[in-house]
């Protein structure tokens, strides 16, 4: 069926029309001299820079280092936030004990800790891990807690009356009920994860994407700076797409998430 194949292709292309148009316009603007190449290199120049950096392996090393840092920080911070959210969602005592402190720490912009973190850890890996973890904790915490709180009490009562054990009640009623909200937290956290890492790498690092962009600025390699920025955009889109896939798989029961 060529018609349906064409339609599917068209549907898949629609979201990319706008980015493509921007790239084309940008290229045209630089090519006709509307924008100086010194401040804004043309997409083709950026692509060339990317090719060059890829050929020497510099790009891949930095990309790998950054991804690893991001994931490590995310796992640590996400784990803590999730555990804290569960504990406070399930236990009043735990909430009364920790929530006030969490709310106070939450309102401190975590990037303001960078000077302190450099003093503590220097520019080693711990600094980045600490900052990413700190940034990721709160969206995961707040949304896990909210998710658990908003589970329908009628369902919990039903589970109890129907003889579910505490473990079953948690795995079959509370956790699935909290999942949509937890996913919201996950997507926020992924955004904060990249943001934190790039800032931290820009200020204090000797490798990674942020470092690569910073070095390029010192040597006035504007094309590499733009390349790094475009890579952030790509990574953000990738993280979002993966979360969407995960959501669709986990929340298939929810009409709101069925194939968009």
């Amino acid at each position: 069926m060529p018609a349906s194949k064409y339609e599917r292709l068209r549907d898949a292309a629609i979201p990319w029309l706008l980015p493509a148009a921007i790239l084309l316009g940008w290229q045209a603007a630089v090519s006709v001299g509307l924008v100086s190449n010194r401040f804004m290199p043309a997409p083709l120049d950026v692509a060339r820079a990317g090719w060059e950096a890829g050929r020497t392996g510099e790009l891949w090393t930095n990309l790998g280092v950054s991804t690893l840092r991001a994931l490590a920080g995310f796992v640590v911070g996400g784990g803590i936030g999730f555990a804290l959210g569960l504990a406070n969602g399930l236990s009043r005592l735990s909430e009364r004990l920790t929530d006030t402190s969490v709310q106070m720490v939450r309102n401190v912009p975590h990037l303001s800790l960078i000077p302190l973190v450099i003093l503590w850890f220097g520019i080693g890996e711990e600094a980045k891990l600490f900052l990413v973890a700190l940034g990721v904790i709160f969206p995961i915490y707040a949304n896990t807690l909210h998710g658990i709180r908003s589970v329908d009490p009628g369902l919990v009562e039903m589970g109890r009356v129907y003889g579910m054990s505490r473990t079953e009640l948690f795995t079959r009623v509370v956790l699935p009920g909290a999942l949509p909200s937890i996913f919201v937290g996950l997507r926020y956290a992924l955004g904060i994860m990249w943001l934190t890492l790039i800032v931290a790498e820009t200020i204090s690092a000797s490798s990674g994407l942020g470092y690569m962009a910073m070095q390029a600025r010192e040597f006035m390699l504007v094309d590499v700076v733009v390349l790094a920025i475009l890579i952030y955009a790509g990574l953000g889109k990738l993280a979002d797409a993966l979360t969407r896939q995960l959501e669709r798989a986990c929340l298939a029961w929810n009409p709101a998430y069925r194939s968009a």
Binding site: G154, Y162, R172, V173, P176, L179, L251, W253, P255
Partner: protein, 284 residues
Amino acid sequence: MLLDAVHREVLSDPRTESRHAGAAAIPRAPAEPGQRGIAVTVRDLHKSFDGHTVIEGLNLFLPAGGFTAVVGRSGCGKSTLLRLILGLETPTGGRIDLDGTAGSPRRSEPPKRIMFQEPRLLPWARVVDNVAVGLSGHGTRAERRERAQAALVEVGLAEKAGQWPATLSGGQRQRVALARALVSRPGLLALDEPLGALDALTRIGMQDLIERIWLAQGFTALLVTHDVAEAVALADRILVVDDGRIALDLWVDVPRPRRRGDPDLARLEGRILDHLLGGSETPA
């Protein structure tokens, strides 16, 4: 396995048979173990919430396998009574005995189940898994699913087993909830206005379904409702609760299957409504 079950049922517990003497016209489905009604004895029951008395010195005996309806105005304590019998609330005073065997081993007791006004299905579990919730803690996952599938056949939803609850209509969801309540072959089924949210035709269909399954399985049924016509159509005994006490205790002596619009039923319905509406206000 089924054959074995039939034998056991026939050999044990002659009580279950006797209750159906008056309903011989309706064929009974093959029985399964654990299928007998629980008798409920309530003695001098009191319940108050924050000093506000809801149930005041209520005495009641529900024979095993009977179908009793509790009607009353909203706030009269009928739902509280049901929740107390189910063990969802603790009484302030008095006692409730199920089957008169307070000290019996819990394991062998046929379970008590409740159907709520809302279906309360897990939206993230397929229909068959929702029914299997009724078997929590019994057997393997495969066994539970198999029995859940059989229960779905009973309520006429076998083909919906693999669907999400969100795709079902309101009446279908309530039928899934009924299958979930019945899959464990309860000795006591409490119905807390389960049909209140359904449209009139769906409700009549559900009433017939509940009656048919009750006749086949012989559990003790306790229906709380504000719909007097529903109570009259289903129950063989109707309790009118007023101010936390039983104000009226009526037997419905109309043979089954009952026809809607039967003059005897209508007369009875009128009498109960008069009591509910007139009640305290009419001057002697």
